[in-house]
Symmetry: D2
Subunit: 363 residues, 4 copies
């Protein structure tokens, strides 16, 4: 009841970082949808460690092996399962953390939850590696959506104190969305991107890490998608996004900014444009009203905490002996997961939107 997401589209994610393989089973995909497997690999590669030194040098092979639900280049509609073998791990780097609770990690909470029986090597089922199956699923959902004109774009909105230019919530440039997908470090403003990368390297040198924010926009979602109360678009997107490690917050439209606004400032006035489309003059509602899409771009931001694995000595406990200890987490660490998280956020958005779209007549 945890690592699967049960809406129209069902996801069942499995795997531990140092187990034989990780993967996902997706059910209830529409039949007959072409899948460009190369595009899936490209999407997944956006989370792989980068050559520019901003992330860990642990290389991973993310080649997904599709086991079912895919035939002659198209979805069959039956469950689609994919595995990714785990191949490159430096167990010894993790050698000194077996019963020590790494601060900011789920070592202690996971040990309690699973009564000590979970596989903790490399973070086990809590590892960031488990975002690979999420990206696989999100890439497939994204291809199905794009065939219908719906595009999802993501960028690094902020690293530490450095902010990128934001999306225009009323007017999303499709070309910019596509361009962002091909950038090694996906920011809208390249100069800001460079400043961010410098800041990340600084953190690495200090044996520290930095956090940030990812912004995501989904365009051309028809109005009327979603349901009120507990299964609105925000509920579904949030439920998936909080499945990505290191997420501590999510906000839609003007987000926490609405708390400082007046109603006259926050309300988005409706109008009918010259082509007969319903739009709003501003988009503080972020494309969602009452849990249901309005037709304006859906836009949200996700807060990521700094990578907990830092090389600096930290105080902690041995949760088996219940003693106070010190820990130094050896090995090369991601000073920042935010760039890697960008496709994960996009994946979550795609899965949520496609799942709701399946309620839409004539999808």
């Amino acid at each position: 009841m945890s690592s699967f997401w049960n809406h129209n589209i069902t996801l069942s994610v499995f795997g531990e970082s140092h187990g034989p393989a990780i993967g996902v089973v997706m059910d209830n995909l529409p039949p007959g949808e072409s899948i460009d497997v190369d595009a899936v690999r490209e999407f997944m590669a956006r989370r792989r460690p980068k050559k520019d030194g901003t992330t860990t040098m642990r290389s991973e092979s993310d080649m997904p092996n599709i086991m079912s639900g895919y035939h002659n280049g198209r979805t069959t509609g039956t469950p689609l399962a994919a595995f990714i073998n785990n191949s490159d791990t430096h167990s010894q780097d993790y050698g000194n953390i077996s019963k020590l609770a790494r601060p900011g990690h789920a070592d202690y909470t996971g040990a309690l939850r699973y009564r000590g029986f979970n596989d903790v090597r490399g973070g086990g089922h809590f590892s960031g590696r488990l975002t690979a199956p999420l990206c696989f699923a999100g890439s497939i959902c994204g291809q199905i959506l794009e065939r219908r004109g719906i595009y999802t774009g993501t960028h690094i909105a902020q690293i530490h104190n450095i902010k990128d230019t934001m999306f225009d919530p009323c007017n999303v440039d499709r070309d910019m969305i596509i361009k962002l997908r091909h950038k090694i470090f996906p920011t809208i403003n390249d100069k800001k991107g460079e400043k961010m990368r410098d800041d990340i390297l600084l953190a690495r040198e200090s044996m520290d890490s930095v956090g940030g924010i990812v912004e995501c926009v989904i365009t051309n979602v028809p109005a009327g998608i979603g349901s009120p109360m507990f299964e609105g678009l925000e509920n579904s997107i949030a439920q998936l996004v909080f499945g990505i490690p290191a997420v501590k917050g999510i906000e839609f439209g003007a987000g926490f900014g609405v708390s400082k606004m007046l109603g006259s400032q926050c309300n988005d006035e409706f109008y009918v444009d010259e082509q007969g489309h319903v739009k709003t003059k501003t988009n503080n509602h972020g494309g969602i009203l009452g849990g249901i899409s309005s037709g304006m771009p859906i836009i949200f931001r996700v807060a990521f905490k700094p990578t907990p694995s830092i090389a600096q000595p930290q105080e902690t406990i041995d949760y088996s002996a219940m003693t106070n200890e010190t820990i130094e987490i050896k090995g090369r660490h991601d000073p920042c997961v935010v760039a890697r998280a960008v496709p994960c956020v996009e994946a979550a958005a795609n899965i949520a939107i496609l799942s709701h779209m399946l309620d839409y007549p004539n999808f």
Copy 2:
């Protein structure tokens, strides 16, 4: 698939603002739990319009009638249904909005979702009134939790630009939690509370409205509650909280603040205290790591947009005729829903935590 929440505890919420009644069916409550019905009414009364002028004068009778699942003062364990009659509505106040889309409301999106067949009077199923059943359910869950030492506290953290004193995330005062429940305007710092109320009245006079933030803390949740990935505590709390109208964001622990932190600042170091309890020196993780409780107070904040119903003229559309129009929403409006939303957030937290607690051995 929308107005019900399906975890261990199941909620099925129904009703339209101007229909015969609203209510909820809860299933899978543990049998044999005492319910103090007066305490339930008190809890629900915390959302009722206030006499201090900060909210609308539309009086509502929120007396819940329990129809099943409750016998001799205790839960039976079979489904518990309650309904609340709708009695006091000023239909004519809503008279001029039948096909006009009130900006910030779900009129337009709801009309598309339900193809024009939903009851729109008073907001229909999207009305803030539908938080009454949520509070009913949350109050019952809260009583069950408190019997086991788990307490939920909430306060208005911010209105417009005025901020209250925040909870101490490492050390929650149970007495303060209880005291907050009895305040008409629940802030920790009473002086700040007065400033907030003045600001709200100012907004009312300007025919405008203000937004804000609610902060919620849950203490004494044992460590090890929750599951990774899609059914962690953050996922469940978020899924319920976004079912409250006007919510545009949620953050846990240091929330969006983590994006500006270094890992060395954000990581919460573990230690074993003198009583042998595991704690952390700081609580930026907000009591949740990997979706699972750590034993530290669970703390989160919710952003509410300003009440969309303002009396100022606004531009909008007639979504039936597809023409551009102007709208003036007559009647007395809530210049701020945040105080009313406080028990709703507490209710959502109670439901989520109890539901997860039911996985806990020997609950």
Copy 3:
């Protein structure tokens, strides 16, 4: 997690026989569907005690009060809740059964499941009365289906050793279906019906009861509805049908008869008829292959045990004192529930089929 059924259509059933009210909340009904409330009452009246002496004289008022989800004669698409007040109960008739486990009833099992806290009066949540909300929901689903040409028919196939004429599984007479709904004692062959009623009266005089079989057919379900494995039409129908009290078996098509057949006898050969429709020459598969509809009439039978409440003395236990006792269940008892169960089976079929139909494009 028990008294609700969660597929496309969600049902949340609540109530105890002697509590204030019983009812149901249905979610995800398509919006804009007309509901003929009189027809709903007629449908529900088919389960009410009959004047012909074959069932108990405990009169019940089954007038449903719709609380939400219904406006201007049509479904809104938001949750539809209905209550039925409990008004006529002879508590004293049930006076001597408080801790005695009536054989064949759920007194003992319910007491263990709910740790003694369930309301046992009149059978509580296990009472046959709880089929009233199921019939309410099934009637509404039936109206939606019939608007699309899909008809469900039911009859008493057998009482004790007396068998009715069966439906022709290849060719269902719509007029017969309608006629059956208006019979007080719904059999195809009226003479057999009279024999059955005589047998039931005989049982009553002996302070005993009889069981039987209900047969149900659904016509015009388009081919291709359903899913393989765990969410086929048989799985869904069975899951709902076993929610009707006294059910001990279900079979589809030739049912248990297939166990005695050869493949050459059992296989239904396909052919295309003159109108270009795909049919089968025989219908041992009962309209379902691989969990999916074939276009042939869906046909199934349900076994009902004799009413457990008989006036004869029976040996049993006091499950509180754990002693051996004798019990005599006073009051007038249903010697046979099968006639009352006929609309319940029809209701279950309607709900299952409509739920699956909602996956069908252009429903």
Copy 4:
């Protein structure tokens, strides 16, 4: 929403008969449970084609590869995924059925459901091979149950017109249960078993097939397990059992036999035995009352139709061209699936019971 079963234990089954692999993901297994992998393989081997000529000679390698959720010989509590490679298929045997609808198979219904995009080779996702993952899951659940004294036994109750001795519903011999698991052809009465096998070979020679009935008993399930209405033990077992191909009926306790009984015959009188245990003198209720276990053996029977693939010429359609055709299904066919289905029924029972047991305090 189809090939997964979502209760406490979640199952997600995937795979096509001629795809790369088939398998299952199980979530929410209790952590720390030993798994004897050899015993799992033995369990699965009970469905493999037999050397005694009664089933097809298509050999299959059912060695499951566990990918996650299993560490140091025990369940971790995180999702457990296993896949089974497809290796031995005679595609050419299936060469002449691509658009011809084999009578009794899901070719036609599946083509409609999946709009022609499903992989039909070897039956695709509808193939009997997909019972291998079900058996894998059921074996694991069975080991967890047995550790707590709960045992499931199954045998072939009937083939064609030949009946085996049945289980004693009041008194189940654990040794007999174990012995049955090791028989190549699992009947209680070996002489009857021989007659059945002769009958099966006769069918093979006639290019025909036979059906039958499997009986299953589960002992030592504590009383009080299950829930009323839609999530009782019968509902859950039925929902899983109808996921096994060729099933056309299920009955519990006296099953369809109750329809011919009087109440005085059918009611099972309670008594407290000398050890203070609650029992019933007879067990027509099959261990389940009101959806909840009574403590008596749970007993049910499943009807299997004769294998649809017979070599005799049959009339059918080309569902692509919509023409009438004749078909001869070449290759060696199972004249009877019932022996192979025995472990599948046992698996379904194990999964359902374990899932419900997880609600039981102190499991």
